[in-house]
Symmetry: C2
Subunit: 179 residues, 2 copies
DNA sequence: GTCTTTACAAAATCGAGCCTTGTGTAAAGC
DNA sequence: GCTTTACACAAGGCTCGATTTTGTAAAGAC
């Protein structure tokens, strides 16, 4: 990825978080990145593609960070905990990430969510299943997929409709998984 | 509940499912129920109250039916299965019920969903927790709440973003709970 | 007494026309 | 490879009546 692409994605992400996809203007993306509007078109073709690229980028960054947290500790349980803490703090901190994963603010963020719900779900579940494979041999192979999907579904559910604060959500998901 | 109230709720529910809350007209509710528009106002005061009453009614009907299924068999596992089958067939059959529980079609159904997510969650979890208490003594008391909430969250998650068809969702939720 | 009919004010919605803004494309220049 | 300028065109607002719908009120019918 070129520096230009990177700065355009960052600029677009910031504006997207502030004004929604409806209120996003290509001129503003260009100005914020210090380039001309035409350059944005050379790079992404059109607005829809740009918005989708931001969503893709956010997803990748977020899942990479989750993967890091999962692998951050020797003890797999500790890794799981670190990952869950990250998921909830980050999703509450960054409204754009939250929108991508939960479909919140469907009003402003429609293009981020449309039909990608299932895609996001399986991508996230794959990350988690891979962690189970390498760090959690107790989980039998034939249950790995289900456990991973359940973890992701529960996490997303707690993002969408929280029962309590972020730490409470971490506890709830973790305990549910360890049943 | 009077017969009048009942038929007004049914008429409103049908029209709501067909045209959304935005396209719902009080005259049509009246006509469909065979009464005058004024009678609708005498009964519900205004449109917003009527729509909320329909949502409340749908919730009650649905949870009562779930409760029946849970208690339908001697074997608690069989009851759980029957309830899950009902949840998924019914939610896919009746778009209005699905909207109430998942917030789908937020466009047309806004008043049904607004801020009621948590309320619906706890109401449903309570129904399930009560089933655990009476039919499933294996679950220790201090885990009952968590198990119930997890069951509901997973079910709603599968309604919102299905991995497969309805039977597959039933299997996924059931197996996740029995882990 | 409960529901209907009729009447009416206030608010929301709609459609047409117009103007402004933003998108997307193209070409010439640095 | 990026900028500047220019332009066609579609989308979004805005205004202004006309219409529809909401919500209230009163008088009458079963």
């Amino acid at each position: 990825m070129t520096d230009l692409t990177r700065s355009l994605l960052d600029a677009a992400a910031a504006l997207l978080a502030a004004h929604g996809s409806r209120g996003l203007r290509m001129v503003d993306v260009a100005t914020r990145a210090g380039v001309s509007r035409q350059t944005v078109y050379n790079e992404f073709g059109n607005k829809e593609t740009l918005v989708r690229a931001v969503a893709l980028d956010k997803t990748d960054q977020f899942l990479a960070a989750v993967r890091d947290r999962l692998a951050s500790a020797e003890d797999p349980l500790e890794g799981l905990h670190a990952a869950m803490v990250f998921v909830f703090t980050e999703a509450f901190r960054d409204p754009l990430t939250k929108s991508v994963f939960t479909g919140a603010n469907a009003e402003d963020m429609l293009p981020l969510v449309t039909t990608r719900g299932h895609e996001i779900l399986t991508a996230s579940a794959t990350v988690f299943a891979s962690h189970l494979t390498t760090h959690w041999p107790d989980v039998p192979e034939d249950r790995r997929g289900l456990v991973a999907e359940t973890a992701v579904r529960l996490a997303i559910s707690h993002l969408l409709t929280p029962s309590g604060d972020a730490p409470a959500a971490v506890v709830a998901v973790t305990r549910a998984l360890l049943a």
